[in-house]
Symmetry: C2
Subunit: 437 residues, 2 copies
């Protein structure tokens, strides 16, 4: 009982550390006639207007907090959020667009953002608020490439297992907004970008396809990615990349490009903050915390088994450290769907851990999507222990069968192990908490 | 280059720590008229004869070292090893039997061992040397249960994912030698059992089905396991377990049973020793070592991806500790065979790690079976780094394709990343070394 209450507190602390409003308020404040942005300071005497451009799953919370700080100094703004989000009541224009698959709404949103950026003058500040999903929500295929061609090559690369870095290198060379081009459009206006990162390691030029930062990659590199993954691409895509590689199209701005001197980007919340927040709360509750990694990938059920082994290893072997301990992992797993059940990657991870923990005392595994939405369910994840499987059996449910049919939701609903917190309006990936007492 | 040489040294240190001859020599020595066994001492004045009974994959090395120590005090002995092992030249009778699937040879070997135990008198010492595989090599189905019925129920339980503890609970209640019955046969002679453990956590009553130690489980529990896993079993098996549960057959000896007072068991080598040995050598080479867990389970390729993430996390995030560091993991993964290629679980783990590490500097993943034999290959595993995938490409091989077809061996052979050390004559599971500099 104690473990379970502690797990909930630790997860809440992880969420609090990446709350978009909190992150903006920590990063951005007015101090007299100066605007503090992270460790930088900008004199507002030099700024006529602030233009706000927000895109992504955390756009609402980030915009709200930026408006808390800047108030009427924001003269104009626009925000693009997924179709599934509720539009907020904010004094900035709100557009909705397709995510994760981009649509024509996203093309219109990107054009509007570029238009607003171009309007900015030398004494204007473009405040860009980015979070996960912005790549799809701002879609601006270059001339000659259709939206469906862009979707086609994106889909193919995803299926070959390309990294997000490689995928976004290709996207950046097919886009009018990504790869620093939004900041080029805004220049000579200054651009400040605040980012909630959902990419491991938070590389600025990969998150949201880096619309305001220099691009390390080239047309030639993007072409090479397609070859390396043996990906066939639409003729229009190959034609653009080949023309670019032959020097017939302007490259994305590279590091050191003076046109981006007036653009600064800051990551204001990431998985590392969530893990640090969780570790801090775990320590307060009497557990020795250890952040194992922020780079978990792979099949959810396999990660679940491993975390169960880690829990027992802490309790019985004192490895990697003696109990009471909290091991913290971040990342994003995947689910290979084989059954027809209902669930999400965090619930499936938890159910697999529960199967491996059956009958064990003093151990717990919790897995949570920091966006509060795990798969097509109303749960964010689940908290399981050594009694989860037998609680299910008492309700006539067999954990292994539910795992086989990817039906984690109904099992964990019956055992009352679901984590029901509702959408959080942020996303830095998934957090897994392993407790052993 | 340095990382690679260091990985080989660390793996060698892991092997040295679980070498069966070294383990026996550390655990067993003559001191005057006393025999030191671990922390116990036995006066040889009270011992007329030593009878040696060895079974398992490490039986040869263990017997050899015990004979080094005891010489002609061993009056009689017998050893059972897998059909695939070369018989040694030792002054004890050597039998060969089926492993992992038991056969009639194993039934004869178990009968011979029981016969020798029964011959032991009050002033005799039965020295029992056990290692992985002994459950199958000593097969003694109870009256009324045929070898094929025993194979049948074992196979069914394995397919449902039963733990080794549950599987061996059933086996112990269908056996004339397991679950303490060998020590009962030897009583009133003293029995000393030295064990090289291949079971996580080294539970004495699970390793080799605990022929010389008390059994925590019952006929009723064994029956319940079949029900819990919804396993249909041959009628003969159900009939024995039901008769036992109804009190019509004698139970295995339980903890506290005075008939086992004269039987002592010692684990002399296990995964923990291999991990400790690896950690010690890693520290000597300048890496901060951390034993993450000795309880790795799951699909090899998924564990491989995770270890690659761990390596990069050490290098880039300083998690779970800053570079240079060596993360050490032990356990045993599984491979779901989907292709027709050649490989083993350690090679598949390594190839998956190589795919995830492509292009990364200063990181390495190595995976090794401590028995030196990974799958049906002549390799023990492999050592991979950020160049493995491109080395393969230079030979015209695609890492992802080889991974898909479970064909890790030919890829890692072409890249010269295989670990070729030959059979080690011991087995404590698999060791994974993750280095980041």
């Amino acid at each position: 009982m104690k473990l379970r209450a502690d797990a909930h507190r630790i997860l809440q602390a992880a969420l609090a550390a990446v709350n978009p409003r909190g992150a903006i308020h920590r990063a951005l404040s007015l101090e007299g006639q100066s605007l503090r942005i992270g460790n930088d300071t900008l004199s507002l005497d030099t700024v006529d207007r602030v233009l706000l451009l927000a895109a992504g799953k955390a756009a609402v919370g980030m915009s709200q907090a930026a408006l808390d700080v800047l108030g009427s100094r924001v003269e104009k703004g626009m925000m693009v959020i997924p179709h599934t989000h509720d539009p907020p009541i904010l004094p900035v224009e709100t557009l909705k667009a397709g995510h994760p698959v981009p649509d024509e709404h996203g093309v219109r949103a990107a054009s509007a953002a570029l238009q607003l950026a171009k309007e900015a003058g030398e004494r204007d500040l473009v405040l860009c608020l980015l979070s996960g999903g912005a790549s799809a929500l701002w879609t601006a295929p270059v001339e000659g490439v259709s939206l469906s061609d862009l979707q086609d090559v994106t889909g193919r690369l995803l299926r070959t297992g390309a990294t997000i870095g490689d995928l976004n290198s290709v996207r950046k060379h097919l886009s009018r907004i990504a790869g620093g081009r939004l900041a080029l459009a805004a220049a000579p206006a200054r651009t400040v970008t605040l980012i909630i990162s959902d990419v491991v390691g938070s590389p600025l030029d990969v998150i949201a396809s880096g619309p305001t930062v220099p691009d390390h990659t080239t047309y030639a590199y993007a072409l090479n990615i397609l070859e390396r993954h043996e990906t066939t691409a639409p003729a229009s895509v190959l034609s653009v990349l080949r023309a670019g590689a032959a020097g017939k199209l302007p490259e994305t701005p590279k590091p050191g490009d003076p046109r981006l001197d007036s653009s600064k980007a800051h990551v204001i919340a990431s998985m590392q903050d969530a893990l640090d927040g969780a570790a801090c709360e775990a320590r307060r509750l009497g557990y020795t915390p250890l952040v194992l990694t922020g780079r978990v990938e792979g099949e959810a059920r396999e990660v679940g088994r491993l975390t169960a082994g880690l829990a027992v290893g802490v309790r019985d072997d004192g490895q990697p450290l003696p109990a009471p301990a909290a091991l913290l992992l971040g990342g994003e797993t995947t689910v290979t769907v084989r059954g027809t059940g209902k669930g999400g990657r965090n619930q499936e991870l938890a159910l697999a851990a529960a199967v491996a923990l059956e009958g064990q005392d003093g151990v717990l595994v919790a897995s949570m999507g920091t966006d509060g939405v795990d798969g097509p369910t109303d749960a964010a994840g689940a908290v399981v222990d050594g009694l989860t499987v037998s609680r299910g059996r008492a309700s006539g449910l067999t954990a292994r069968e539910h795992l086989t049919s990817n039906d984690s939701y109904s099992f964990l609903q019956a055992t009352e192990d679901l984590l029901l917190i509702g959408p959080t309006g942020t996303n830095v990936g998934d957090v897994v908490v392993v407790l052993a007492a």
